[in-house]
Subunit: 330 residues, 2 copies
DNA sequence: CTGTTAGCGCCTTCAA
DNA sequence: TTGAAGGCGCTAACAG
């Protein structure tokens, strides 16, 4: 590969001048600039950004740490981050943690070693990983999931309110034994959605026994198993609120497999939109989140923090939207 | 940040020794090694991989260039790449080209400038971008879509055969005017799937007039519009083969909106599996592709090429699988 | 406006 | 087995 010295030599100028031309910094004599441009083309020269990054001691990479890019929720979010990042000159490194704090920790280490310009993280629980980033001075934005005990830029949705809407909606449609399939106890969204569910039940004067609550893993199989467990329990529910998209699909699959009629025998509302929810049988009522916007907002916050590292952290909370379809109305 | 010199000083050794300890290269006196380890911990030292990469003139990044991570097909594929890559010590940089060759070119430039260790690309048509990578000596693997006129490691599926299966299946179920919604003319998969469709029609002794073929953009809206256009044409089809997942969903939405009964009035088969296809109304018959395996295979090929740059390029073709469900059987 | 020079942090020969 | 030293390619002071 040609280096900046090769270009300089061919253009009969100094490497510094080549650098200036390429970076459009200081003003350079048009003649020299033209010679440089020609030499660049002739040699098919491309600046080596590794060297540039070392010299400038900064990079143009963002890490996005999520639990699973296979989940359309995170997909849309990543897409939002990438669109904003690309425009600002950053590339996005994808990190699937699989809800495993150890794997998450490895990615944080990598982000640190690679001197990444920033990190957007939907953390699988422990705040220690985020702490390490902050201590190292790496700009961080928490997305979707809150970081406890640490002040950090955050982009969240109003989970509790969304869950409340979903549950209240079921209560209004006459369901009385409303169950909840939520996520892992360590994940803030799971806790908040459970709380919203409980609040709505209390407001509707309905009971909320622990026997109607399941903690699953935010995955399809987990939703399936949780639904099965609810059906097999002594006094099965007549409705279920599932706290994320994949678990909703799993729960519905379980109901279909067992021949339980939706919404006649069991009403269903899911948190987070499901691609094609409209074409499901029956179509699924969901709490829609602004996923793409979530990503865009986080990326914007990250860019701002990089530009202005000392400003106080801010939290943006986006709203959810109840999409009423067939699965919740009998 | 602490540097290797800080560690050396604290451990009373030379930077070279620290480097040796950290990289497990040459044998180092256990006493010294222990001192180094302690110093590393005390200073919370992390090697700067930007500097390391410059020195070694290689990086641990792979670019994965796809058209849209919002498409579950690419999501699964990326996931496969990341799982293999991570195990081999590589991080994955996500690049959405949006089927735009210019955007794709920008990512190729970035991959070149960032000295990426390798690129996995599902190219939006022109082979020039791949050519640039090859000329620069960057290891490349083509995935999903073929690169014409260039010998390059490739991981593909048997598109023509898959499309043939889909179309023959419709013919066997008594459909006679079978339409095809395929992708852009520049994309190899679109061309091959169209060819498979035509072959199957010929084999079944059915006509294949151009009026039954639409070229859309591989997206949901495109599928919707293409379906609408087919319905509005003089002599509408009694079945449709849609050449990718999102267009299938779009086509079905169009049929639902217009009250056209599936599979009674129109039979539907889609290429590529759709998450939740089983829960759709009606459930959708599809040609399933081994998406995750596609990604894993490409990543494995890339790792092998990096290890052995001069070996001849190889092409792996994976098979598809017809998943018969309700939408194609009247 | 342009060139010279030093050094970002690390690894790796080379010599001891 | 260990240390000294050079240089990966680039940019940013500093001179001129």
């Amino acid at each position: 590969m040609a280096t900046i010295y090769d270009v300089a030599q061919r253009a009969q100028v100094s490497p510094a001048t080549v650098s200036r031309v390429l970076n459009g910094q200081a003003t350079v004599d048009p003649d020299l600039a033209a010679r440089v441009q020609t030499a660049v083309r002739d040699l098919n020269y491309r600046p080596n950004s590794v060297a540039r990054n070392l010299r400038r001691s900064r990079t143009t990479l963002w890490a996005v740490i999520i639990s699973d890019v296979g989940n359309p929720f995170f997909t849309a979010l990543v897409r939002g981050v990438e669109d904003v990042g690309q425009r600002a000159g950053y590339s996005v490194v994808l990190c699937n943690s699989d809800e495993d704090p150890a794997k998450e920790a490895r990615y944080v280490t990598a982000a640190l070693e690679d001197q990444m310009a920033g990190v957007i993280i939907s953390s699988s629980g422990r705040s220690a990983n985020v702490q390490r980033l902050i201590e190292a001075g790496t700009p961080v934005v928490a997305i979707d999931r809150q970081i406890s005990g640490t002040r950090v830029d955050s982009v969240l949705v109003d989970n509790e309110h969304g869950a409340e809407l979903a549950t209240a909606h079921l209560a209004e449609h006459g369901y009385r034994r409303i169950a909840c399939i939520t996520g892992p106890r360590t994940v803030s969204t799971a806790v908040q959605r459970l709380r919203g569910y409980q609040r709505a039940l209390a407001a509707a004067g309905l009971e909320a026994p622990d026997s109607l609550v399941r903690h699953a893993d935010f995955r399809e199989d987990g939703g399936y198993a949780a639904m099965a467990s609810l059906l097999d329990a002594g006094d099965p529910p007549d409705a279920v609120f599932a706290a994320n998209n994949l678990m909703t699909v799993g729960a519905v699959e379980c109901l279909v497999d067992r021949g339980v009629a939706i919404p006649a025998e069991i009403g269903v509302v899911g948190f987070d939109e499901i691609p094609g929810a409209r074409l499901f049988r029956p179509s699924l009522t969901t709490i829609a989140q602004p996923t793409y916007e979530l990503g865009r907002t986080a990326a914007t916050l990250l860019a701002e923090r990089i530009a202005e590292p000392d400003r106080p952290p801010s939290t943006v909370t986006l709203q959810t939207d109840l999409k009423i379809r067939e699965s919740s109305q009998r």
